[in-house]
Symmetry: C2
Subunit: 351 residues, 2 copies
Amino acid sequence: MWVTNCHNGSGRPLDIRKRYSGVERPLFILILSNSDTAAIPGISGAGSTEDYIQYTPAADAEIVSNGKLKTIGVMPNAPSGAVTPAVLTRAGLNLSQSAHLLINSGLKIVPGVPYYDLRTKHGSDIRFAPAVPDAYSIQKAAKKLAACCDCDLAVIGETIPGGTTTALCVLRALGFTANVSSSFATNPIALKEKVVREAMRRASINPGNLRNDPMRAIELFGDPMMPCAVGLTEGFLRSGKEVILAGGTQMGAVAAALRALDVSTDLVIATTKYVFDDRAARFVKLVNALDVDAFSADPGFSKSSVDALQKYEQGEVKEGVGAGGAMTLAYIRGYSQEAYRREVEAVIKRL
Amino acid sequence: MWVTNCHNGSGRPLDIRKRYSGVERPLFILILSNSDTAAIPGISGAGSTEDYIQYTPAADAEIVSNGKLKTIGVMPNAPSGAVTPAVLTRAGLNLSQSAHLLINSGLKIVPGVPYYDLRTKHGSDIRFAPAVPDAYSIQKAAKKLAACCDCDLAVIGETIPGGTTTALCVLRALGFTANVSSSFATNPIALKEKVVREAMRRASINPGNLRNDPMRAIELFGDPMMPCAVGLTEGFLRSGKEVILAGGTQMGAVAAALRALDVSTDLVIATTKYVFDDRAARFVKLVNALDVDAFSADPGFSKSSVDALQKYEQGEVKEGVGAGGAMTLAYIRGYSQEAYRREVEAVIKRL
């Protein structure tokens, strides 16, 4: 088993392949967003240089949709040379033959492939202004959209640089002490904490103050990805569809908001083993506190000769673009770790 | 019966309410497009002045989605003062409580409400250049989108100024002698014929030459709405969903393309009585030639004291924004003509 159920909030043992054996029409949804928080120097490794960070969601979208770049001129790889997780996602969707839907929830730079456009602005720098003034209308529009989507399982991923810092701030406002992950091998925790402190001081909010008002926490401290993921999840669950939140600590913040909104259904987060096993992020502590199931997907990159994949084993990138969720889809469809790794390598060759 | 089945290609009698009595999740889809053909002076009445014609699809989208304008500054009414058919559509969706999805298939000016963006360019002036170079990729993307839409009946409408002229040219290339409708009370037929002649001369195509290659006809002479409507219809029919093409002669051109693509399923066009009864457009002749069902919806505006609706009775506007299809949805749900007319008047008051 290369995708394992490492925590089960409800206490029941869980066979992932069995649980999803009835799935016929999975839909992979990728939320694309930008924020000015990502422009804080040193905060994000989601781009080869800081100049290119804001291009990353659009570039990821083109790779997921198209298998290669179309209009964006720069590969969204990490400064270390680690390949973008969009490649991992594309491989999972290829194998599982899943349909996908891209959602523009506040992009500054748009991809050249089709997407659903929520017509909203990118997020502000949380140190200086409310992050997402449109949080409520994004949530509402996403809920409506979910009601129109034909699927029995929605896997929801994201690509927004700087997203772990906004996740940290939302988690703090909701009263969680958990830490978050980083696309850098060395997590710039001190910088993130400083940004969070400044944002909370600006808004005169102390940790835990907003534990009963998660949409306000997102409005003040989050990013435009979050209300979209919250609304989609609410919409899908309401219409009896299953949801997997595909991501690490950012989806932890989304799950925390959903819990605070009284969504009591079993929630599931699928992530990579790189986030799951990351001591700095304390991901397991967070999912325990949230009482959610978490799946950990191991792509087996230690056996790959491709340097851009080996970097993941050294702690670079770790997760993003819903990679862990896309791997889970391939796993559910019966593919082995080796078949998956080979598909990732094939996607890289075609880039 | 204020919505009647006036032609039945298959020869069977048809009770519209009965035929659609099993519909539980109708989805109204509105395709939004622009083209440079619309900028030919005198060709389109879809805007209060020629300067504002290209704003009409975005304004219509805001009214359908929002009940009023949001970011567009000018009401998309006709020069005569007749109200935009977006109002008729909104009323039908309000009563029938139908979900809706907007699709941007080549807009020059975008609305401030959410839509699915096919990421394609507006149509060219057919006199000077191929109309829709991306026709095939639009068709393909629309087919994919249809596969992700949850509904049992898709009602597909459009808002693209100048669309009857491109419809005329596509019909001619496919070998039909039929004429088309106009948003003006007096149809500028001579001008349309002149544009069509120039376009066909430019491409060295004679009437009927493309009867076996409808996508090429759309590529050369159509507009970006058409490949989207074609692809959506193919996608929905393939997944066992019912489709109503909501419009007049423009949807006639779409149906003609579908027939030429060997789509042999029963096709249905729902339009207003203003198009259906329009002698200049010879709509009935076209639907007979295409062997499609046609529904004619009479909103009962002769009984309205609102001048902007009375204009419809005088031959202004006639149809657009899928109005006839939205009326059909209200009719299927059991609403009377009077209830519908009152809802239209209520929508106008709230504008």
